[in-house]
């Protein structure tokens, strides 16, 4: 436990260095954030254009889909912000930086995740926040309660953890083979793209995958349904939205065990 606390403190040291380094180029950073905001806003706008010819998507109205997409943007943006170091892992191994990390008296994972903190991802997070405002404008009759705000927050955080864990799984594959980016991209960008729409438009196999294998839906679709008062697939009660953190932690735990396995393999092959 003390080891964990120390690593956590070091993590903040590491990312504060990253932030300082990126802050050196303030104008550049600002432009990056604005551009990223613009690009991701276009993604959401193109999503919403669907509702000009069609009033609903299997019963989902424009405001509801906007809310879903914005929740996705925030948790995915947070995952990109925090998990950028994991995303770079393949390069880190190839350049020998990972060996260097193994030569320091701190956990390798702490150093990998602490090796980057990409502030320009704030663009996507801001876009998600703006998206929620737009969604609320479309949904004037939505009744908010404290519980719904709670579900929204734990949903976003759980979604972030799940996405970071998926990035970690992708990085772990680097221990076995070097060309892995496509597989990870399919899972991260693919899941983000697909789950910006209501989960129920997909076939049952895909629904099961996003709920029970790569439980991304628990961070986005499930809390959105709870807030909007919509039924969940497989007759699940709406309250499973409160389970999101548990599911995220279990998934992260599984990912971390696989990471350990990969580390052991790395130490026996060195490649």
């Amino acid at each position: 436990m003390r080891m964990f606390l120390y690593d956590a403190r070091l993590y903040f040291w590491l990312i504060s260095m990253q932030i300082r380094a990126q802050w050196q180029y303030k104008f550049n950073l600002f432009l990056d954030i604005v551009t990223y905001f613009g690009v991701t806003a276009l993604e959401i706008i193109s999503l919403l254009l669907f509702f000009i010819p069609f009033p609903t998507l299997l019963g989902w109205k424009v405001g509801e889909v906007a809310l879903l997409g914005s929740i996705m943007s925030i948790s995915f943006g947070l995952a990109e912000l925090v998990g950028a170091g994991i995303d770079n892992f393949g390069d880190m191994v190839r350049r020998g930086e990972f060996d260097r990390m193994l030569l320091r008296p701190i956990g390798a994972f702490t150093q990998v995740i602490g090796s980057d903190f990409r502030l320009r991802r704030l663009g996507r997070i801001t876009q998600g926040g703006a998206g929620i405002v737009v969604a609320l404008w479309f949904l004037p009759n939505l009744h908010w309660t404290l519980t719904k705000v709670l579900v929204l927050s734990i949903g976003i955080l759980s979604g972030t953890v799940i996405f970071v864990a998926i990035l970690l799984l992708g990085a772990t594959i680097c221990f076995w083979t070097i060309e892995t980016t496509e597989l990870t991209n399919m899972l991260t960008y693919g899941a983000r793209e697909m789950l910006s729409y209501p989960l129920t438009i997909y076939n049952l196999v895909l629904q099961r995958i996003f709920l029970f294998v790569f439980p991304v839906a628990f961070g986005t679709f499930v809390p959105a349904c709870y807030i909007l008062g919509r039924p969940l697939p497989f007759n699940m009660p709406g309250e499973v939205a409160f389970l999101a953190p548990v599911i995220a932690l279990i998934f992260a735990l599984i990912a971390s065990q696989i990471w350990r396995l990969g580390m052991r393999r790395y130490q026996s092959t060195g490649s």
Binding site: A21, G96, L102, R104, Q267
Partner: protein, 344 residues
């Protein structure tokens, strides 16, 4: 003296999958890989005492990096026994990391975009160096390495020599007992090289830090390391001093003599020369004689020459150690001797 590095019969073999060419081949390689085993390190025995300065020498691909990786706990050996600073490198990697410092000449551990000072400050936290010790060490290191002139500069703007000095400071902040250096002088100019060597000698002398370095620069070995290990094909070929290897394989030394007057009769001199000595060239008063290590002592040759001609000046040229090492790699001089690994 206490042993700091102990490796007995250490082996490392890798299973390498051969890739078949083409798309279908690639697919077949995944389903039914053709695997061959590469023995990177074979039954290596190394014993290093605390406070020693040892060079690990060998051609590229000889197994030096693999050896260092096993000694630091990055790689699990396929067999054998390893202890470093009394610890099991793989099982106690994080603990061991606090006892060792590592510098790779080819890549820095400093943060590229930040001033050197910030990197050192962060490393203090990564290595949990207490504040007072950090301040004292940093003061000492920046005096010795003259860091003050560039400590506020972002690392990407430093010259290679400055960056190397920064990296050395970074590796020594936590007072490691053992310092691994991988090609510490690569790419540096003569002045920078001399400065780094001087620093390493003083760290070794004053702090008693054990230093193990890999290098291709034989000057590093001659000027720094009383002891040298030669590794090739994952085996230890030699363990001893540079002088000893020069004596064994150095072949001929060269005597350059300048006479008071130009040499008149070259063929007469050639006929008279003692056994094992030959005339390489003569130009006016300047003679170059080569003589074997064992044929006769240098002073006797000088006396012999002095008795026949008035001498103006005499100098000796030692055999180039680079040459000797090249012959060891290419002609397998030590391999031919079989089990001729000599302990110093």
């Amino acid at each position: 003296m206490a042993i700091i590095i102990e490796a007995q019969d250490v082996k490392k073999s890798f299973r390498v999958a051969k890739r078949r060419p083409g798309l279908l081949g690639g697919l077949r390689s995944i389903i039914n890989p053709e695997v061959r085993t590469v023995h990177a390190v074979n039954d290596l025995n190394i014993e290093i005492q605390r406070g020693e300065l040892v060079a690990l020498v060998g051609p590229n691909g000889a197994g030096k990096s693999t050896t260092i990786k096993m000694l630091t706990g990055i790689l699990v050996p396929s067999g054998g026994y390893v202890r470093v600073a009394g610890l099991k490198p793989v099982e106690q990697r994080r603990e061991l990391a606090a006892h060792i410092g590592v510098v790779f000449g080819q890549r820095t551990q400093l943060w590229w975009d930040l001033p050197l000072k910030d990197s050192l400050h962060l490393l203090r936290h990564l290595y949990r160096v207490p504040e007072e010790r950090y301040t004292a060490n940093l003061k000492h290191l920046s005096e010795m390495l003259e860091l003050d002139e560039f400590i506020e500069t972002p690392v990407r703007q430093l010259s290679l020599g400055q960056r190397m000095r920064g990296d050395l400071a970074a590796a020594l902040l936590h007072d490691p007992e053992l310092l691994y250096l991988d090609e510490p002088t690569i790419g540096l100019d003569v002045v920078a090289k001399a400065r780094i060597r001087e620093f390493l000698l003083s760290v070794n002398a004053k702090r008693g830090t054990t230093i193990l370095l890999t290098t291709h620069d034989m000057d590093d070995v001659e000027l720094l390391c009383p002891r040298m290990l030669i590794i090739d094909h994952g085996r230890k070929l030699y363990d001893g001093s540079v002088t000893a290897i020069r004596e064994r394989f150095g072949g001929e030394r060269i005597l350059i003599a300048v006479l008071e007057t130009a040499l008149q009769n070259q063929s007469a001199l050639q006929e008279e020369l003692p056994a094992g000595v030959s005339l390489l060239s003569s130009q006016g008063p300047r003679l170059e004689l080569s003589f074997g290590q064992r044929s006769l002592p240098a002073h006797e040759l000088v006396a012999w020459l002095g008795a026949r001609y008035p001498l103006h000046d005499v100098t000796f040229q030692e055999p180039e150690i680079e040459d000797v090492i090249r012959r060891i790699y290419e002609e397998g001089l030590l391999l031919k001797e079989g089990a001729g690994v000599k302990k110093h």
